[in-house]
Amino acid sequence: MISINMSLVYTIINLVVLYLLLRHFLIKPVTQIMEKRRKLIEDGLKNAENTQNEALQLKQEYENALSGAKEESIQIIEKARTTAKAEYDRIVGEAGNQAGSIIESAKETVRIEREKTMQEMQAEIAGLAVASAAKLIGRNTDDQENQDLYDQFLKEAGESHEDADND
């Protein structure tokens, strides 16, 4: 019943063989699969974390850019407003100056024109007076003729006066 024989050696060989077989056929594949799954899950978690971090970073960047753009737009508007104001002032001032000078020159022209007209009128009146005097002297006719002459004189004078006004 209790005896040590060759079975002991065979059992040791059996155990070693069984160990090698089971390690190759059972434990290694199962462990590999479990390891793979563990890695897969770990990778998945890591990826998710990375993606989240990236998204947060992008969000931060966008927010920064957005606030920067807002500030910039405010600056641009402010600048445009200032420029427009300066331009407006400049144009209005220029226009005022120009208008003043135009009015001034117009007044000057009118004054010169009037003086010229006056001189012309004086010359014409003098001529008329001379002509009418000559006529009165040259033709001593009746009252009716005298009356006509006066009328003609007055008419011519009036016409010339009107012409001068129209000029």
């Binding site: 019943m1 209790i2 005896s3 040590i4 024989n5 060759m6 079975s7 002991l8 050696v9 065979y10 059992t11 040791i12 059996n14 155990l15 063989v17 069984l18 160990y19 077989l21 089971l22 390690r23 056929f25 059972l26 434990i27 290694k28 594949p29 199962v30 462990t31 699969i33 479990m34 793979k36 799954r37 897969l40």
Partner: protein, 219 residues
């Protein structure tokens, strides 16, 4: 009591007499290897089937349990310990349930297991701490205990061997006697206790103690 003896089943030309326990061990080996080939065939990383989940749970439990005792450095010994666990579980429970005599009832088998465990225990210690440390640890804590410490090399596997052998032999003897005197119904719960519960417990204890001694040696 012819059941107690280990008969020679057949004789091979070179190897000589092949005893019953070795023959049953071969059968168990074949069954374990074929089963593992079948179970491992369709492993998938995603969407594992129920069989795969059960297999992974079992292997994962054994690995976690042994790693908990041995620590990270002892990982390389885990496949062997799982092999012993599976072999003992199969030998202690399946063999009697299918009508074979359990191979662990043969002292040769348990002695072989114990010798393997002894080699593993000492090897793990030497590998971890070197030969010098391994030699020095016999003289600790005081040189006086050296003979006892040296004896421990033999005592530990001997206790493993005898515990397993005694349990299985006793269970077997009790069951055979019971079958002889009360062949009806009564042997069923007793068989459950001795074959399944005690068989699994002894497999667990053997592997547990081996790993515990290894940890002790690796300190």
């Amino acid at each position: 009591m012819e059941e107690l003896s280990c008969e020679t089943v057949f004789t091979l030309p070179v190897l000589g007499d092949i005893s019953e326990s070795v023959a049953v061990t071969w059968i168990i080996m074949a069954v374990l290897v074929i089963l593992s080939i079948i179970l491992v065939r369709n492993l998938r990383v995603e969407n594992p089937g129920k069989v795969q989940l059960a297999l992974e749970a079992a292997i994962g439990w054994a690995q976690d349990f042994l790693e908990g005792i041995l620590g990270k450095e002892g990982r390389r010994y885990i496949p062997y310990l799982i092999t012993v666990l599976l072999y003992l579980a199969a030998a202690n429970t399946l063999a009697p349930l299918f009508g074979f005599k359990p191979p662990t009832k043969d002292l040769n088998v348990t002695a072989a297991l114990a010798i393997m465990s002894m080699c593993l225990i000492e090897y793990s210690g030497i590998r971890k701490n070197g030969v010098g440390h391994w030699l020095r640890h016999f003289t600790k804590p005081v040189p006086l205990v050296t003979p006892i410490m040296v004896l421990e090399i033999v005592i530990r596997p001997l206790s493993l061997c005898m515990r397993l052998f005694g349990n299985m032999l006793a269970g077997f003897v009790v069951l055979e006697l019971l079958k002889f005197f009360v062949p009806l119904i009564i042997p069923i719960p007793v068989s459950f206790y001795f074959d399944i519960f005690d068989g699994l417990l002894q497999a667990y204890v053997f592997v547990f103690l081996t790993s515990l001694f290894m940890t002790e040696e690796m300190e």
